[in-house]
Symmetry: none
Subunit: 141 residues, 2 copies
């Protein structure tokens, strides 16, 4: 059923949600957002509406889209003159990371740490762990 728009339009609500994910680090800087069709499924919205939301994020500078590749979260600077420091390093997986990421204990994983600043003070630190890419993963390849 076509969803009417009470108050706020859908595309704006979706943009708000995605903005929140980017700024909170749920979608870390440099990471790919879900594909358009995935977002269609998640938000149960049509492609036009999704694209409308993504366009809004691009205008804000929060996202960059590469033709044929996808939409990335950009490294965004929060606050007025707020700087965000991000560090990328390799750490050894603890037991929890190992279980969640599906690696063995002590295996190397990449840690991307982002310090989020608001009003000149670091309000939060986000650490994102992933299996190392570009070298040797791909589970079944």
């Amino acid at each position: 059923m076509p969803t009417p728009h009470y108050g706020q339009p859908r595309y704006r609500a979706i943009a708000d949600e995605l903005r929140e994910r980017i700024q909170s680090g749920v979608i870390p800087p440099g990471a790919l957002l879900p594909t358009e069709s995935t977002l269609c499924a998640e938000f149960r919205a049509s492609r036009g509406t999704i694209r409308h939301a993504l366009a809004a994020l691009r205008e804000e500078g929060l996202a960059v889209t590469d033709h044929g590749r996808g939409t990335y979260a950009s490294i965004h600077v929060w606050g007025s003159s707020g700087q965000s420091r991000t560090a990328l390093r390799t750490v050894l997986a603890d037991s929890r990371l190992a279980a969640l990421l599906g690696v063995t204990l002590g295996e190397q994983v990449t840690e991307q740490e982002t310090a989020i600043e608001e009003n000149g003070r670091v309000s939060s630190v986000v650490r994102v762990y992933r299996k190392p890419v570009r070298s040797a993963d791909k589970q079944s390849k």
Copy 2:
């Protein structure tokens, strides 16, 4: 010429046709479906529409797609409460397999064996042979 959708959408009609071919055995389990562009030509539909149809089949579990390779017809489980066990192993190609698969005699091929159960009894066994794909399979997601 954007085709309006009076009545049934085209992607669904195409999915119906392909489903019929898989379930009837015209496209046997494990075989590759025609490529997307071939299907475009056959149904005179755009690639997006073809992919829409294929996505529907994937959701039904009737097809599995590999990036850069193609879309396979899955082992179909007949019956409503049919259970199936599948085993994957590597065997040596006999002369018939060699000729059909285009490998040399005695070359390794993967054999996917599925035992289809109905009412607690194995009603049939399906064996699917393919050229090895590099290692084990994957098909998560």
